[in-house]
Subunit: 406 residues, 2 copies
């Protein structure tokens, strides 16, 4: 089955916001064995939307629209689709009553615009919206499925997961698995993968680079789910045997989540001291729910003064070797370990740029020191990219070093 | 002039990456007075891409494609477009020679795939790619402009800015300005805006909510640029007069950048202590180049222990009022101010969830304390949303409070 995803709205058309809905829906449809073949975005105009819908009816079996279901005059997705299909709009009495009750509760008179929300194309089914007022609409027409969802992701995503997914289950299986690596370049990895015995029909194996990590994505299709699962697991095993040192996780679980889970499992406490990453590692760790059980503190020592007073880095070390040095990274970690009860600490110091680099110490140079009560390891890395990229890559690398050290 | 943006590639179609190219190009085209009317994404397939190009030729004056210009077999954008238009591919001798020289330098034999990169549709002009190997292509056909650019944003963006923009300059002017607010809800703001005398033909004024901020976007069109500028500035003045307390900046300059600039201007040093935001505020500040001149340190005191030892928060306060309280926020800020030479400090403590909330202290409750050597201010806020949203909103709010306090 082929799918087209249509997003409407001025914000997307003028480039004010990113189209995250298409990405989400594409990824979910792929999981369901439905092939997303086209994404189309268009502004809320009857004429343009009509033509887009006609084209989609011609080339896709499943059409999902997001946006244009609200109460305002700009919202005309369902009206337009009904018109293109030659269907009348009919009132959903239950829904109108529900809207009426909602307004009564708020002591507000129901306007005609609000009444509009109770209309749906004849023969369609409403899709419940637990996080907003505009319901979705499901419509079968000439063996095609049309699904209209609201635009805000916080409404659309749960509606798709909870109500639309069961409507779209098919016989053909697609399994998508990911192996997440760090520390090996994409082209190098791709070349080495090509030598492995993992390629065959109905399997697509590709690599995607992002922030210093590379994802190996395996997409397999088959009618036999069990055999498919078995084959994919075999391929994953081959890849694991060959790239074990670079693999930090699977299926795009974030490395921060992996580290927090590992710390919880081992009942260990982590603390961080960051210079060039400026709190980014700490922020990634604390973005994981439950991080408080394993995370004690982070000290972002951006100035030399802070390094001296917070972490007891010696003035002599800073003067002799500089703030960005193996020696300072070591003393930062040691100072932090001494002042906390943490089982493991990590320090980072580097030059994120754009200024501050020199021939000996270029922009992108970063030292890490990971330490526990028994041993430590200092790592030097030179990252390429702009300030944001260097900070991001250094943060990801830090988490990987913590993972390996736990 | 109407434009269609076509992006190709499997990664976008299976939902593996976000389509940032369409957003970038839409925003740039709008600035140039060209109306982006359609975004289309499709996989690299001759059949599907051909039909997409045919549809685009039918409804747009400017067609920009990204992706499919590389040397591999999947890369077939220019071949497909040439075929649809009935144009032959011709060799660009200069380019072939350049590729040849590049390979010779690397001591590698040039493959047929690489030779392919020197081909272009008859009558087209090559667009220089300063950051990669695949050049872009500019083609005029039946009064329509077709522009093919490579997919990687770090190649595509400079090519568009440096070489494509001058090819697209038009007479009609579009000016887009933004006013960025915080602390007022979108619907409330929209309603109040409606009462102001700022609406007229050829001006579109709309609001966009994001992470606790709301952007007021004014888009004006006119042939007379000077008059347009004047009118837009008048509208901005009216909005400023009415919403001054909520405005933190203009034209989507980030609030972290605004705060860093303000601190530099006043020659002030900032330090932070964060609990529930876990380093996010610090990370935003240090994402700004040059932050080191105004930022001393951040202490992320995630545990009570860290609050006591790092910031001298009293055990009694923590026991009596809890870690999430006005009193703890105050003591955190005071402890930090005492141990640093900073001119201004901010503390944050709250419950980001999903666990840890209670009836008296719900998830989303956050206390802030901003303090200098003379005075302080404690702010209480209850944010809605999930963990990431609460952390993000609390971070943005913190930066706004710092901005107001400087």
């Amino acid at each position: 089955m082929k799918a087209e995803i249509i997003t409407t709205g001025t914000e997307i058309m003028i480039g004010s916001i990113l189209n995250t809905n298409s990405k989400f829906l594409s990824s979910k449809l792929s999981d369901l064995g439905i092939e997303p073949c086209y994404h189309t975005s268009v502004e809320d105009s009857v004429e343009k939307l009509s033509s887009v819908i006609r084209i989609a009816l011609d080339r896709a079996d499943v059409i999902i629209t997001t946006g244009g279901l609200g109460p305002t005059e700009d919202d005309l997705t369902k009206e337009t689709i009904a018109k293109v299909l030659g269907l009348e709009l009919e009132k959903d009495i239950d829904l109108e009553h529900e809207i009426y009750k909602r307004f009564k509760r708020m002591n507000v008179t129901m306007s005609n615009n609000n009444r509009k929300q109770a209309l749906k194309p004849k023969g369609s089914i409403l899709i419940k919206n637990d996080n907003g007022t505009a319901p979705g609409i499901f419509l079968e027409y000439n063996n095609k499925k049309l699904i209209m969802l609201p635009g805000p992701p916080n409404e659309m995503i749960p509606m798709f997961n909870d109500y639309v997914t069961p409507m779209l289950i098919t016989d053909s299986n697609i399994i998508i698995r990911s192996i997440n690596t760090i520390g090996i370049g994409e082209s190098n990895l791709e070349e080495k993968l090509k030598n492995l015995d993992i390629y065959e029909d109905n399997f697509n194996i590709s690599t995607y680079a992002k922030s210093g990590t590379v994802e190996i994505k395996i997409i397999g299709k088959s009618d036999n789910k069990e055999a498919l699962n078995h084959k994919i697991n075999e391929k994953i095993k081959v890849i694991k045997d060959n790239f074990n040192d670079y693999i930090y996780g699977f299926d795009n679980k974030s490395i921060a989540e992996i580290v927090v889970d590992l710390l919880r499992e081992k009942n260990m406490q982590l603390s961080l001291c960051e210079s060039c990453t400026g709190g980014l590692i700490s922020s990634k760790i604390t973005s994981v729910p439950g991080a408080s059980r394993v995370f004690d503190r982070a000290i972002v020592t951006y100035s030399n003064n802070a390094k001296i007073h917070e972490l007891n880095v010696s003035v002599d070390t800073l003067e002799r070797y500089g703030a960005v040095s193996e020696e300072t990274a070591f003393e930062m970690a040691k100072g932090l370990l001494n002042k906390t009860d943490s089982d493991i600490v990590l320090s980072v110091t580097g030059i994120a740029g754009p200024d501050g680099g020199s021939k000996e110490k270029p922009v992108g140079l970063v030292y890490f020191c990971v330490m526990n009560r028994k041993e430590y390891k200092v790592i030097k890395n030179i990252f390429s990219g702009n300030r944001a990229t260097i900070q991001e890559r250094a943060a990801i690398k830090s988490l990987f070093e913590i993972q390996k050290f736990i």
